[in-house]
């Protein structure tokens, strides 16, 4: 082995799954002789520097067998490293990542989740859900029972940059937040950052959730699907041209509408009306390996929820005339995303990714009725249409350049995003034969804004022990005639105490130029995205975090972090404001103020072996100060929860059986309850009138503590043609009534009483899946 010291040189390439050709994001890569290390980026690309003629590279990825590869001076670059899934090896040998990546990396407050691990966890109504799994991590709260909201380190649900193949997702929920839009069968990789944001990220205050769709199998055709209690799904993938072009297409639809239709008919009789609800989504992707240095990806997602009541066209004779009626009321919302990405390895030092993205989220309510009257001489038609729509649409371009220069790993880039907002528009149409027609829109008009960003960051190995990541993110936001520039410094440092111990610290200044008008009580699809304006300024935050990371026996990872985050110009609905009131401009309905969140997070994870899982604990405080709310006094945020514990355990007994368990506990959410009732009064009356209610502060009361146990068992049945997976899950196994809200009712004796209303008692579900 030629271990002669030589001039520095770069070894670069891609890491992929041997079975599918799928790129493996976040693979740990290390030079054995020099212990230099890195990990693959979002495209499975890595670049590492060495000084020896022959270099031994070590690759490790969760759920895959480790690999050591010798790279000789004449080895052709870029490398194409393939790793094999470890659970496919005979003899039920479970291996996994044996590395100190978490210890080595400057990045803190980051969590990577393996989709297979998520699928092993107990499911809610038969659906494995990425967001629900992420909510079990320390520092991340899920809001209300069953919802897919994300409240990260004191931030609001609007402060998360959720990216699906690089395109932002503005509403990640189906069915009023009970399910996320992410179909696990179509997802390859999930990472969330809660803090210590490198300069390449911007646009949101509290987190970056980066989700990569599957790229499609480059080797052979594969099909995967399932039939569940709520939805069924099917995923197809395969090569269009082997090892050159692949595709992936995945669809999912619920069938609540079909199942409930007979019940509605039973209740209402066959009155010509039908009503129902469904959600559906589709992911699609094409992946083209143009040549060894160029790759193109085309990604698409569309999904919607729809609730409808409609009458079948109905005709009857009346007074010698034929009269026909039909009507439809619908309430629907959905996302559409598209992205084109181009990866280019420019030379041994430089990797470039350029992408174009489009995203749209819309919400609409429509009531329409049509009728016609036909007699011998004329046809009279009448149309009534009453609609409300809101939407946000983004067009963006982005380019990132990665330059590996030995001790320095530079990243520079730019992005431009054009936002189009329609915060709320009513449309009324009225048309009648022979009469004047009305076609008018009122409410908020479309408004546009533009964001441009530049960034530069450097991951610098200062010494063998000290590594820092520093950078600047520059953002210029333009709305109408106003410009809001910002320079956002970022810094993170890691100091190695030993091979398995490191201490870390980070600082991140963030800016967010869009706001979400969200009702404090529920996470609903009609939450409105609106631009920052002169009156409602862009939000900003500063977050400092410090902690340490430790890996034990190559099996366990342990992190402890403490953080303090302050936020400015965050918005809340004013007291008494209601989003149902569209007559009032949104700017008049909100008040801006400050927020802060601080706390401690503890996470112990086991990612490899037959038993995997984690224990997470968060001790945190979340507060808000809004001059026009709570008489300007600081108050606890609705989702302030002092203690938050999660315990996740997956056990793979053998190739046939998996078991999963989740137990969560958290302090109850805060809510506002009246503490006194007394008669109201007006200057013109001298007697008691309707009651008014006194409160001793915003969010003055705590819900009962939340806790829940979920269990699952999965049987894998191997067939000649593939595999059948039967998953039986029990959500809320001991049927705890966790409070969703409280109501006051009257008992048989006429006494008022307080009722705790929970959403889900024990909920068993069955899901049958297959893989070909």
């Amino acid at each position: 082995m030629g271990l002669t010291l030589h001039a520095q040189k770069n070894i670069y390439g891609y890491v992929q799954d041997s079975a599918t050709g799928e790129r493996l994001i976040g693979t740990y890569v290390k030079t054995i002789q020099q212990s230099a290390s890195t990990s693959t980026n979002s495209y499975g690309y890595f670049s590492i520097q060495t000084t020896t003629d022959t270099t031994f590279l070590y690759f490790s990825y969760v759920g895959f067998a480790d690999k050591i590869v010798a790279v000789y001076p004449n080895t052709e670059l870029p490398l194409n490293i393939t790793l094999s899934a470890s659970f496919q090896l005979k003899g039920v040998k479970f291996t996994g990542r044996k590395d100190e990546k978490i210890v080595n990396s400057t990045q803190m407050s980051a969590i990577t989740m393996n989709v297979n691990q998520i699928k092993m966890m107990p499911r809610f109504m038969g659906e494995a859900d990425i967001i629900k799994a992420i909510q079990l991590m320390p520092g991340i709260k899920g809001g209300s029972e069953g919802s897919t909201g994300l409240y990260v380190r004191g931030g609001g649900p609007d402060q998360n940059l959720i990216l699906l193949d690089g395109s932002p997702v503005y509403n990640a929920s189906h069915l009023f937040g009970f399910f996320s839009i992410f179909n696990t069968d179509a997802i390859n990789h999930v990472q969330i950052l809660k803090g210590g944001f490198p300069a390449r990220y911007g646009g949101r205050l509290s987190s970056v959730l980066d989700i990569a769709m599957k790229e499609g199998n480059m080797k052979k055709f594969k099909a995967e699907g399932s039939v569940g209690a709520l939805a069924s799904k099917l995923t197809l993938e395969g090569p269009i041209k082997k090892d050159k072009i692949s595709y992936m297409i995945s669809g999912r639809r619920t069938y609540l509408d079909f199942l409930l239709q007979p019940l509605f008919q039973l209740a209402n009789g066959n009155n010509g009306y039908s009503q129902g609800y469904f959600f559906s989504d589709m992911n699609a992707k094409i992946n083209w390996k143009v040549n060894k240095n160029n790759r193109l990806y085309l990604s698409y997602y569309t999904g919607k929820d729809k609730y409808y009541v409609k009458s079948k066209p109905y005709s009857y004779l009346y007074d010698g005339k034929t009269i026909s009626d039909k009507s439809e009321d619908r309430n629907q919302w959905g996302n559409q995303l598209g992205g084109l990405r181009w990866n280019k390895v420019l030379n041994k030092n430089v990797f470039i990714n350029t992408q174009l993205n489009y995203t749209k989220y819309y919400y609409e309510i429509v009531q329409s009725a049509e009728s016609s009257e036909v007699n011998d001489t004329a046809t009279l038609e009448q149309l009534n249409y009453n609609g409300f729509t809101s939407s946000i649409r983004d067009y963006s371009i982005k380019s990132d350049v990665e330059i590996n220069n030995g001790k320095h790993y530079f990243r520079v880039g730019f992005s431009a995003i054009a936002h189009q907002f329609v915060p709320g528009r009513n449309t009324i149409k009225y048309k009648e034969t022979g009469q004047r027609s009305i076609d008018t829109s009122f409410g908020s008009d479309q408004t546009n804004s533009l964001e441009t960003s530049l960034y530069a960051e450097d991951d610098y190995e200062f010494s063998k022990k000290l590594k820092i990541n520093y950078g600047l993110h520059f953002n210029l936001y333009n709305y109408k005639k106003s410009f809001f520039p910002s320079v956002q410094p970022r810094f993170a440092a890691r100091y190695l105490l030993s091979k398995s111990w490191s201490v870390k610290a980070s600082f991140a200044n963030m800016r967010q130029n869009i706001h979400l008008l969200t009702n404090n009580n529920l996470g609903l699809p009609n939450d409105l995205w609106v631009p920052a304006t002169d009156k409602v300024k862009p939000m900003s935050s500063n977050q400092i975090a410090a902690g340490f990371a430790k890996s034990f026996n190559d099996l366990y990872e342990f992190t402890f972090e403490t953080y303090y985050k302050s936020m400015n110009h965050i918005i809340e609905f004013k007291e008494g404001a209601s989003f149902l009131n569209v007559n009032n401009s949104w700017e008049n309905k909100v008040a801006a103020g400050k927020g802060r969140g601080y706390g401690f997070e503890f996470l112990m994870q086991k990612k490899s072996g037959a038993v995997t899982g984690w224990i997470g604990y968060t001790l945190s405080w979340i507060k808000r100060t809004i001059p026009e709310v709570n008489f300007g006094k600081e108050f606890y945020y609705k989702y302030d929860s002092r203690h938050d514990i999660s315990f996740v355990l997956n056990y793979k007994e053998n190739e046939k059986w998996d078991y999963g368990m989740v137990w969560v506990f958290r302090t109850g959410n805060a809510t506002t309850l009246a503490t006194a009732a007394y008669p109201g009064y007006s200057p013109t009356s001298f007697y008691t009138t309707s009651p008014v209610y006194g409160y001793n502060g915003r969010n003055n009361f705590r819900f009962a503590n939340y806790h829940r146990l979920d269990l699952s068992i999965t049987r894998h049945i191997k067939k000649k043609w593939g595999m059948i997976d039967i998953n039986f899950s029990v959500y809320n196994a001991y049927s705890r009534i966790n409070p969703f809200y409280y109501k006051i009712s009257t008992d048989n004796r006429g006494n008022k009483q307080i009722i705790r209303v929970g959403l889900f008692p024990i909920l068993p579900s069955l899901n049958i899946g297959f893989k070909i």
Binding site: G146, F176, Y277, Y307, N331, I365, Q367, N386, F388, R436, I438, N520, L522, N526, E572, E575, G576, A577, S578, L580, N583, N584, N588, F631, T672, L673, A676, A677, Y678, P679, G680, Y681, S682, P683, F686, Y687, T688, S690, P691, V692, Y693, G694, Y695, N696, G697, R698, N700, F701, A704, I737, Y742, K752, Q753, I754, I755, R756, V757, G758, L759, P761
Partner: protein, 303 residues
């Protein structure tokens, strides 16, 4: 429109709601009844108080106006004794003046009340100067007009009212009452509040339109306030009938303004499950209620 949304939300809540549990009332904030003292004072009439006792929000009992003759209320003007009030019985007992003295604008007033069993409460406020209507011009416009079979113009009409107020006080509440006549008769319907938006033409003013009342907290320091009221949408059939309008302007102290505004919000939102909670403002020490100065101006116009 909003009902469809609420129905949708309720449907799903119903589908998924299958578990309820009665909570112990002890788990909720306890309430100890306090004296509620309510009084708006003006320069037009003497001080009048309505006293009652607060209840827990989940209490079954109705509110009762208190009428103890052993209670006393004393009023001070600029810290000098001004008046004492005694209980006047009846169905709705009030505590009324013994001197017939009325408050004067731009003076501070304080009250003290000692009620048997409920202790002593007090409050303080000032009486702002009244705000006058400088100009008011009314007219109506017809939209979508057409001629009927008798060649008479018909159509939808909007009533327009431009109002200019003097601004002696930063906290105003404005609403409009209409006294129209039954079609083809000379019998008035009586003054009734109009439920359509009034717009403040100066966007720098902080305004909120709640339950047919416009609340203006004028932080911009504008001398005069111009309001536009394009409302009273209706259908002209043959001929629009003339109506009388009463422009009512409350010139309020800050305490009175906050109380009235928050009270309007609570009442308006009582059936809206999606509205934000609105705590009542309270300037009664050791009790609840309002002791607030309000000067009322009425301005009549017919067109």
């Amino acid at each position: 429109m909003k009902n469809l949304f609420i129905l949708t939300a309720l449907l799903f809540t119903f589908i998924f709601t299958s578990c309820e549990k009665t909570e112990k009332v002890d788990n909720f904030p306890r309430h100890e009844g306090k004296l509620v003292a309510n009084c708006f004072f003006t320069s037009d009439s003497t001080f009048k108080f309505v006293l009652s006792k607060s209840l827990s929000p989940i209490d079954n009992a109705p509110f009762k106006q208190l009428n103890s003759t052993k209670a006393f209320i004393k009023i001070y003007e600029d810290n000098i004794f001004f008046d004492s009030l005694v209980c006047k019985g009846g169905l709705y007992p009030t505590y009324t003046s013994t001197t017939n003295r009325t408050a004067s604008a731009l003076h501070n007033y304080r009250f003290e009340c000692n009620y048997p069993g409920l202790g002593k409460v007090s409050g303080e406020d000032y009486l702002p100067d009244s705000s006058s209507v400088l100009k008011a011009k009314g007219y109506y416009t017809i939209l979508n007009s057409y001629y009927d079979n008798d060649s008479v113009i018909n159509g939808n009409y909007f009533t327009n009212l431009n109002i200019e107020l003097s601004n002696n006080n930063p906290y105003l509440m404005v609403f409009i009452q209409k006294n129209s006549y039954y079609q083809g008769s000379s019998y008035p319907t009586g003054y009734q509040e109009i439920y359509e938006d009034i717009t403040d033409l100066n966007s720098a003013n902080e305004t909120e339109y709640i339950a047919s009342r416009l609340y203006i907290s004028n932080s911009a320091g504008v001398k005069n306030i111009n309001l536009k009221w394009t409302t009273d949408y209706g259908i002209v059939y043959k001929k629009r009938t003339t109506a009388d309008y009463n422009i009512v302007v409350y010139s309020c102290s800050k305490a009175a303004f906050d109380y009235l505004k928050r009270q309007s919000l609570q009442w308006e939102n009582q059936d809206d499950p999606f509205s934000q909670p609105t705590p009542m403002s309270n300037n009664i020490v050791n009790g609840y209620g309002i002791f607030g100065g309000v000067n009322v101006t009425n301005y009549l116009i017919s067109f």
